[in-house]
Structures are given as structure tokens and as C-alpha cells.
């Protein structure tokens, strides 16, 4: 361990600056790599956040990845993402097809969250927006074939509200009715019970995050608020 005897006490200014510069460069390179990998991790389209989760980018800056929400969940719905799973490492998510959210009245996962990544203001689980169910495959859905499957409709915790059955004529047989499940995006919480219960091998109804499930009208479009925009106003050229 014989060290070279230094003439001066400690290190001199030149050494200090050189070391600092070298370390800064090395650490900046490492940091670039970490930042690139960490921010390239995206939430998969079928990965659902717990109720009350902030918008994804805000969620990632808020979540401490402690797993308190996971441990608070009485139905083992939530899990912490492993490396290279559908969600950024260590953050809570669930797959509706495997275990959907049971929509507990007291929302224990939100109560357990210490960081505010799950908003404490959400106290009514029916107001949750974990995602929006979309009947995505009308070709294989049994109700679209004229059968009375209705499973997604009947398991919906907000039955006749978030999913309704709309009756229409079965053109194929000519004298039967079809009962088409229709999701109301304003009330659907994205709990995923419909996707979980779908009898097909691959669910015809899937829960998607709102930003994928929903379209968005352009700000200049005049038909956003049809209640107040009468045909009259539209014909006149819309002067308010």
C-alpha cells in the first residue's frame, strides 16, 4: 500500500480540476444511458394503473415504487412491474384479463399511497378512470353473431350504466333480435371485469387507456357541444 509521498497536503488544484472533469464526463455518460433506458420504458396498451393514478408522466415522477398499494389490494389485482414488463420497473399495474379491479368502496390502494401518485381526492370508485372498455372485435363477439352471451354486460359493476345492451334487428336471420353491448365511456371506470369475463379465447372487449380509447375533437370544431349548438346557429354561421 505504499503511496507516493505527496509534497503538498492532499491534492493540488490541477489534480482536483482534472479529476472533477473526468468524473463529470463519466457520470454524465452513465446518466445519459440510465435516463434513456428509464424513460424509454412505456406503459403497455393493456397495462392498467390503479384507480386515481396521475397521468403517466406525472405518475412516473411521483411513484416511489414501494408496493404499499399492492399490499393494500385485497384481491391481489395489483402487482409491481418487473424489469421489461408492460410497465416501468417497480410501478404498480394490473392486467384486466388476468385479475380485474374489484372496485372496493373504500379504495384501499389509494389510502395506502404515501407519495400522491394515486390521488387521495378520488373517494368514489365509480368516478375512477383506470381505462375505458372498448368492444374491439365485432367479428367474433358472440352477441354480434346474434347469440345472447351478454357476459360482459352482466359482470359489469355498473350494469346498464357503463355497459348497456342495445337491441337491433338481426339482418342475417331476418326475424331475430341482436343485443349489442355498448360501452358508455363517461361512466366506464376501466375496472376490466368485462375483459376478464369475456368467454372468447381472446377477449372481444378490451380495456384501453383513455388516450387510446378516446378520440379528440379539434378545438375549432363547432359540434363539440351539440346541446347548446343548435342547427339554427350552425346554419347562420355561428356567431356568438
Amino acid at each position: 500500500m505504499a503511496r507516493q509521498e505527496s509534497k503538498t497536503q492532499g491534492i493540488n488544484r490541477r489534480q482536483f480540476l482534472a479529476t472533477t472533469a473526468r468524473l463529470s464526463c463519466a457520470v454524465a455518460l452513465a446518466g445519459g444511458g440510465i435516463a434513456a433506458v428509464a424513460s424509454s420504458q412505456q406503459l403497455g396498451p393493456q397495462a392498467i394503473r390503479p384507480p386515481g393514478a396521475l397521468a403517466e408522466q406525472d405518475f412516473l415522477s411521483a411513484c416511489v415504487r414501494c408496493g404499499l398499494c399492492v399490499e393494500a389490494c385485497p384481491y391481489d389485482t395489483l402487482k409491481l412491474a418487473r424489469w421489461f414488463e408492460e410497465a416501468p420497473t417497480g410501478t404498480p399495474w394490473f392486467e384486466a384479463r388476468k385479475v380485474p379491479c374489484e372496485m372496493c368502496d373504500d379504495i384501499p390502494c389509494i389510502k395506502a399511497c404515501p407519495s400522491g401518485a394515486l390521488e387521495q381526492e378520488l373517494t368514489d370508485i365509480d368516478q375512477a378512470k383506470m381505462g375505458i372498455a372498448v368492444l374491439i372485435d365485432e367479428k367474433n363477439c358472440l352477441n354480434f353473431k346474434g347469440l345472447r352471451c351478454d357476459v360482459c354486460y352482466r359482470v359489469c359493476p355498473l350494469i346498464d350504466n357503463a355497459i348497456t345492451l342495445e337491441r337491433s334487428r338481426n339482418e342475417r336471420s331476418g326475424h331475430h333480435a341482436m343485443f349489442i353491448p355498448v360501452v358508455n365511456p363517461d361512466t366506464c371506470t376501466g375496472c376490466g371485469k368485462c375483459e376478464h369475463a369475456c368467454v372468447l379465447d381472446e377477449a372481444a372487449i378490451k380495456v384501453l387507456p383513455p388516450h387510446i380509447a378516446m378520440g379528440k375533437t379539434a378545438d375549432h370544431d363547432t359540434y363539440i357541444d351539440t346541446e347548446n349548438t343548435t342547427l339554427d346557429m350552425l346554419n347562420k354561421g355561428f356567431e356568438l
Binding site: 500500500m1 505527496s6 497536503q9 492532499g10 479529476t19 468524473l23 463529470s24 463519466a26 457520470v27 454524465a28 452513465a30 446518466g31 440510465i34 435516463a35 433506458v37 428509464a38 424513460s39 420504458q41 408522466q57 406525472d58 412516473l60 415522477s61 411521483a62 411513484c63 416511489v64 415504487r65 414501494c66 408496493g67 404499499l68 399492492v70 399490499e71 393494500a72 402487482k79 409491481l80 412491474a81 418487473r82 424489469w83 421489461f84 416501468p88 420497473t89 417497480g90 395506502a112 399511497c113 404515501p114 407519495s115 400522491g116 387521495q120
Partner: protein, 303 residues
């Protein structure tokens, strides 16, 4: 140092003969019990439903009432611009205060599970007398700390938590995220084959933050009986931060003031001459034990 090895059959033989096997491994075993015990306290919740401690080291809840949180994670949230719930801030304050009193790097040696991995690598290095490779500068960890706190500012996300091995290990045990263990294998191999104590002593930003927190801690390791030191070098062999030892053994004050010291107590274990003790540095300063240790033949200019 290698000549000292040839003379002795095995490392710390003197201490074992002098103090007995238990006393020569006392703090090592207590530390392992502490590290594994804490992990077990977290694990019995998900395993058997005994919820003494919920969460993990990032943030947890003791007996459903007392919040605790990792100061580094909390700082990352704050630098990312998110204002967390009060419970997280209180939790971080509780943990921060605790380690400010205990000596910050008590976390590293008595709590952090990664310590077991790096200690194993260091043990194997010693057993197989692997050559000491050029060391990285130890202040690298403070640059890492700065980086970890800067990344959330630049990216908006707590980026370090993707890689941080402490929660990775805890999550692997508590939530079955086993793939993260590959990271620990990487740390083990880096410690074993690249640079001695590469992770804990040179890179880990958590250790750097805790070292800063522990600067003023009253609890310090001291070389109270530095006059009895016979230069056997066992403490230097085993100490994870051996640069902190020389000023205490050969300098003005027997207190190890350098907060790089993890206060692991292994130097107490391996010293047959009972040179080292845990002390409260304030009561110790009142007590004029020995101002100038004899061993220092020449003045050493360290710090």
C-alpha cells in the same frame, strides 16, 4: 500486506485466539442478523399476513402508523417537481433524522441488503488473494448522487429507481420480481473481478447521501487503544473504507470522523488488541485519554 498474509495461517487468527470465535465475529453476525431480520420483517407480511412492516425500503409503514421513507427517493420526487403527500415527507424526515443520529452509513452496513453481496465478493477476493486492481476515485459516488438528483430535473421521472439495486433486491424478495437479481449478480462480479468494493465504496449514491447525513452524528468508531496497535493490518484488510482508519490510528484524534466509515464494527471484531470501540464522540472529547498515539512516528498528512 502480502507478507503479513504469508506469516499468518488465516486472516484474523490472532483475534479468534485472543477473543474467542464469537467475539471475533460478533459485529459481523449481528449485522447479518440485522440485515436479514429487517428483510424478514417486511417479508412475513406478504408471506404469512403478519403486517408489522408494509412496503419496502423506498417507503414503508410500521404497525400501520409510523411512516418511513428513503430520503434519496423522496429527494428524487421533489427534484422531479412532484409534491408528495405529507406522510412521505414525514417518513423521509424520520429516516433522515435517525441516520443523522446513528451515523448515516449505519444504513449501508446494518440495513442495506446489497452489503451482503458486496461483502461476499470482498471475502472471496481475500480468500483467493485476488490482486488489488487500480481503484476508482471514491468521490465518484458524490457525482453519482448529483446525477441521481439531476436526472429527474432533466427527464421528469425518477430515473434512478429503474436501476437502484436496494429496492430491486427488496422487490425481488417481497414481490417476486426475480429478474432484478441479475443486477446483483452484476454488482457481485464487478466487485469481485473489476474493482474491490466497486459498488458500495465508489458508486452507490444512497451511501453517498447517507454519508452526508451522518457527518455530524454523535456515534463514531474510535481507535481508543491506538497505542496497543501492533500493525497487524487485519483491520485494513477487512475495512470496506480503509482510508478512514489511518488518521484515527496514526493521527491527532482517535475518532474516525470521516463519514465514509460505515460503522460496521468489523474492525472491532478482527483486532486482537482491542483497539477499536463505538463511542459517543461528545463524551469522548471531554475525556483526555490520549492525545498523541505513539505509533505515529512521523506526522501523517491525511486530512
Amino acid at each position: 500486506m502480502s507478507t503479513a498474509k504469508v506469516e499468518k495461517a488465516r486472516f484474523a487468527d490472532d483475534a479468534i485466539r485472543e477473543l474467542g470465535w464469537w467475539k471475533a465475529h460478533r459485529f459481523l453476525l449481528l449485522r447479518r442478523a440485522s440485515q436479514l431480520g429487517l428483510l424478514a420483517l417486511f417479508a412475513i407480511g406478504p408471506l404469512w399476513g403478519l403486517w408489522l412492516l408494509k412496503g419496502n425500503l423506498s417507503s414503508s409503514l410500521l404497525l400501520d402508523t409510523i411512516p418511513m421513507a428513503d430520503p434519496l427517493v423522496t429527494l428524487q420526487l421533489l427534484t422531479s417537481g412532484h409534491v408528495p403527500e405529507a406522510s412521505l415527507l414525514i417518513g423521509a424526515a424520520i429516516i433522515g433524522l435517525f441516520y443523522a443520529l446513528m451515523g448515516g452509513r449505519v444504513f449501508c452496513s446494518w440495513v442495506c441488503p446489497v452489503n451482503m453481496v458486496t461483502d461476499l465478493a470482498a471475502y472471496l477476493r481475500r480468500r483467493f488473494a485476488l490482486p488489488r486492481t487500480p481503484e476508482l476515485p471514491r468521490q465518484l459516488r458524490y457525482f453519482m448522487l448529483a446525477l441521481v438528483l439531476l436526472l429527474p430535473v432533466l427527464t421528469g421521472v425518477a430515473a434512478w429507481e429503474w436501476l437502484n439495486p436496494v429496492p430491486v433486491l427488496y422487490r425481488a424478495v417481497l414481490f417476486g420480481a426475480g429478474a432484478g437479481l441479475g443486477l446483483l449478480v452484476a454488482i457481485f462480479l464487478a466487485d469481485l473481478l473489476i474493482v474491490e468494493r466497486m459498488w458500495c465504496s465508489h458508486l452507490c449514491p444512497s451511501g453517498a447521501l447517507f454519508a452526508l447525513l451522518g457527518k455530524l452524528s454523535p456515534v463514531k468508531m474510535t481507535a481508543v487503544n491506538a497505542k496497543d496497535c501492533n500493525n497487524c493490518m487485519d483491520c485494513f484488510v477487512v475495512c470496506p473504507e480503509r482510508q478512514v482508519l489511518k488518521p484515527a490510528l496514526k493521527g491527532q484524534s482517535p475518532i474516525i470522523t470521516d463519514s465514509d466509515c460505515t460503522q460496521c464494527g468489523r474492525c472491532i471484531d478482527v483486532c486482537a488488541k482491542r483497539v477499536f470501540q463505538y463511542k459517543n464522540r461528545f463524551t469522548f472529547q471531554d475525556n483526555p485519554l490520549q492525545k498523541s498515539p505513539r505509533i505515529a512516528k512521523k506526522a501523517e498528512n491525511e486530512q
